[in-house]
């Protein structure tokens, strides 16, 4: 989906304003938000791709008007409702009112640190040989699907070079919609800045993306 998250190349957001000695959290609610997103995700009802898809579905005015933790919380409320854990009644009351679906698991305190240290790898064995080889010129497909995808608009239709051929990885385009992991080979594709941005591009610039095989076509 061409949504508000896909900001590469936009120019209207103002200065970056890096904060010196920035703390990890700016308020206690951010700590709880982080923990809620992780512990609720640990219930096993959705995956990271569905989380991203849900955040991207926020109205652009909301997405651009919210801090990232706020985007996370708004996304989480949607995910919890979609999967039957929380209802609009619950949210209205600010209290558990309605019954909830049964989670696959509940993360216990003792499990938390080990789970963080373990992570969740997304590479998957894949037997098909790579369709593209390192050094080959490829074109990022000019695709505009209604579904979630990780091919940014600025790269679509553009010519690049395969810089690295990776393992198979879970395909976000299907995984985000509960349609399976469908692992595909992942590639690092390097684009000349002038290819991406024309004569306005920085001549010293190369930008790479990591692209699944179905995002690419022969040049």
């Amino acid at each position: 989906m061409n949504g508000p998250h896909d900001v590469g190349g936009d120019m209207a957001f103002g200065p970056i304003n890096p904060e010196p000695n920035e703390p990890f959290f700016h308020a206690d609610w951010e700590k709880r938000a982080l923990g809620l997103v992780i512990t609720a995700g640990a219930m096993g009802a959705w995956n990271i791709d569905e989380s991203r898809r849900t955040r991207e579905s926020l109205h652009p005015a909301v997405y651009y008007g919210s801090s990232y933790y706020e985007i996370w919380i708004r996304g989480l409320e949607l995910l919890l409702q979609r999967h039957g854990f929380v209802t609009a009644n619950d949210l209205k009351a600010g209290l558990p009112v309605d019954p909830a679906a049964t989670p696959k698991r509940v993360m216990k305190a003792a499990d938390a640190a080990p789970a963080m240290a373990r992570g969740g790898p997304c590479n998957r064995p894949i037997t098909a040989p790579p369709k593209f080889r390192a050094g080959e010129r490829v074109r990022a497909r000019n695709m505009h699907p209604q579904h979630h995808t990780r091919l940014p608009r600025y790269a679509r239709g553009k010519l690049g070079v395969v810089e690295a051929v990776h393992d198979g990885y879970v395909l976000p385009d299907t995984n985000a919609h509960g349609k399976g992991e469908n692992p595909e080979r992942l590639y690092t594709i390097a684009f000349d800045g002038r290819e991406l941005w024309g004569e306005d591009g920085d001549p010293t610039l190369t930008v790479s993306i990591d692209a699944w095989e179905s995002y690419l076509e022969p040049a």
């Binding site: 998250h5 190349g9 120019m11 904060e19 700016h26 709880r32 008007g65 216990k108 190369t206 699944w212």
Partner: protein, 208 residues
């Protein structure tokens, strides 16, 4: 802009709390009340990312690479394994790639589509990394971006921007600053700033 709005649908929340505090507290109350999450697990997660996992991890990786050519080579070939050998693994660091600055090329990491960041070596990302100004401009105007961090590269330095569009996570290994020859690994690690491992900064110069 981030907090410029009110939520009109928040009338059920405690009026004494700011809207996000109230909203998050309500959600935690609901989920804990239904037995879906354990608030103590949240405490434990916060402890990990507030006190244990942060850019000092990445700084140790860089210092090791600066000190040990074999490690540097391993880091280049298989960053996930090399970094794991120092004890840094886990969430948002499952598939690591290390990219090395050279005299010719400066590396810069961004996630235009969300906030992908190598948590296992850098901890949680700063607000600016997750926000549209940086995400939008890093891929089209990296020199303008670097200028906002007080950094000016020579005009002929090549800039390589890594847009983290998949689950690979990038760690920039900056060049070792001049005059750091006699320093210990810990002293070297002290020169390595968070921003220098994102590409929006350079390591500190050693004290003369």
């Amino acid at each position: 802009m981030a907090h410029d709005h009110h939520d009109h649908d928040d009338d059920h929340h405690d009026n004494e709390l700011d809207p996000m505090t109230a909203r998050v507290r309500a959600l935690e109350t609901i989920l804990a009340g239904k037995g879906l999450i354990d608030p103590a697990a949240i405490d434990a997660i916060v402890d990990v990312y507030e006190n244990k996992v942060g850019p000092r991890n990445g700084a140790q990786v860089v210092a090791e690479a600066w000190s040990n050519p074999e490690f540097a080579d391993w880091l280049k070939r298989d960053a996930t394994a090399a970094i794991a050998s120092l004890g840094f693994t886990g969430r948002q660091g499952e598939h690591m790639h290390a990219v090395f600055n050279t005299a010719e090329t400066h590396n810069l990491v961004v996630c235009t589509l969300c906030s992908c960041y190598p948590w296992s070596v850098l901890g949680l990302p700063p607000v600016w990394y997750k926000s549209p100004p940086y995400r939008s401009r890093a891929v089209i105007d990296p020199r303008g971006v670097l200028a906002e961090f007080g950094m000016t590269l020579p005009g002929d330095t090549k800039i390589r921007v890594w847009d983290s569009t998949a689950e690979l996570r990038y760690l920039v290994v900056p060049m070792r600053p001049a005059g750091a020859e006699g320093l210990s690994k810990n002293q070297l690690a002290d020169l390595v700033t968070r921003d220098s491992m994102i590409g929006t900064g350079l390591p500190k110069a050693p004290a003369p």
